[in-house]
Amino acid sequence: MERLSDLIRGCAEMRITGAEPERVINACCEAGIDFWGVEAEDEFSLVMSVRQSRTGEVKTLAEKCLCEAETLRLRGGRRVASRAGSRPVLWILPLVLAGILAASTFFVWRIDVTGNVTVSDTEILNALADSGVYIGAFWPGFSNELTASAVTAAIPELKWVGISTFGSRVTVRVREKTRIPEIFDESLPARIVAVRGGLIEQMGALRGNPLFENGQTAAQGDVLIDALVPGKFEGARIVRAAGYVTARTWYELTAVMPLSRTVKEYTGETYTAMALRLGDRRINFYRSSRILHTMCDNIVQEKKLGVMGQFELPAALITEAGRGYTLKTVTVDRDEAKKTLEALLESTLKTKLGAGGRVLSSEFIFGEAEGRAVVTLLAECRQNIAREELLTEKEIAALSAELEETDDREDNGG
């Protein structure tokens, strides 16, 4: 910093020669002349640095002290200014760069979206773009409040949007609407069907007409509890069936896994490549995009340029590092393969059984075929096989027609 100050203000290196050069130092001190870098050359001369503008005063003081002062070297100040004057690029280029930097802070180079859970960033960014807020937009040209209102209107899932502009960075905070829970409509006709075939152990029809009894076997898709309920006094009616059906079910699941697999073997070859991204353009500082001709792992790091938290420039420094590798085939241990497949099958069975399902007994059968490990799971389980199925409009119409026909017949007969 001191050197820069010396360069801007200009300094002169002077040699003081005389019987007592120390007297010049004392005189400079008395006169308030700044000096530094005092070095004694010998008993009768010393060298020191002063401001260029004070060299004349130092020479006068030296004469008064019966010494001689001579200027050895001039640095900075007018010399630098005169050199810069003859080479305009030295001052025009920094000025232009400073101007570009200052102008770039008036444009949006980064948009951060926070607070969204179900609404995607892309959806919000698209709504912002429609309102005139996008990467490269002139931020003094748009109103945060108006943009927030437009985004709220464009995305019905949002209840509040707040937009803040910090230099070239725009932060969008959103709050989503609370979803209204689905209302259970009892008037909707529905029946209970079997999600899987099995031997019914326990059946409880809370509403509707049960078509099976305990001990009977139901196939997948069979209607267990019907929506059409016959009435002894008021005639038949259509209801929303509800109930539970616990049945014993049997599963046979198979999983296959090759007994050989390929793994990476690093060759030791590495490369590092640099690139600069300006807006949408990318400038590579290397010739080929693939320096390694073999397969390689690529690690790409992108560092955005700008002042952290204040503003960002539309530029980023990209560093790519790569590690070359070749693929090698290795044999998988049979026990390992068996354990992996068994765990996979158990997980799959658990998913199929659901929350209340239970495995009564299970057995794994391991075998090999065509270089692959095959594991079969045979399981006997107990689970709820009831699943609600809403009736279609056509089915409702057919049932209604059937009901009317029955009523008419009973009336005529009566």
């Binding site: 050069p21 120390e22 007297r23 130092i25 004392n26 001190c29 008395e30 308030g32 000096f35 530094w36 005092v38 070095e39 004694a40 008993e43 010393l46």
Partner: protein, 87 residues
């Protein structure tokens, strides 16, 4: 009549010399010597710096001695200080 040094008067009156206005004060820290209330330089070289004071002078001996800062009240000498003599 011969003028008595201020520090001798202070000693006779049992007054601490530090309290006397304009009395020279030396502070020696690692590789740096600060002299307050000096009266200029007597001699300056890389191995010896003599500083004038109101009551005499201070000779600083050593090597690579350099005058790093100086104004009317104080000056700083930096370098390897081997001895400080008050003459």
């Amino acid at each position: 009549m011969k003028k008595l040094p201020a520090y001798k008067i202070a000693a006779a009156l049992h007054i601490p010399a530090v309290t006397l206005p304009g009395s020279p004060r030396l502070t020696l820290t690692a590789g740096e010597l600060l002299c307050e209330n000096h009266a200029g330089l007597q001699k300056y070289s890389g191995d010896c710096v003599e500083i004038r004071t109101r009551d005499g002078y201070v000779r600083v001996s050593g090597s690579s001695l350099e005058l790093t800062a100086m104004n009317r009240e104080e000056l700083t000498v930096r370098g390897f200080v081997a001895a400080v003599e008050i003459c």
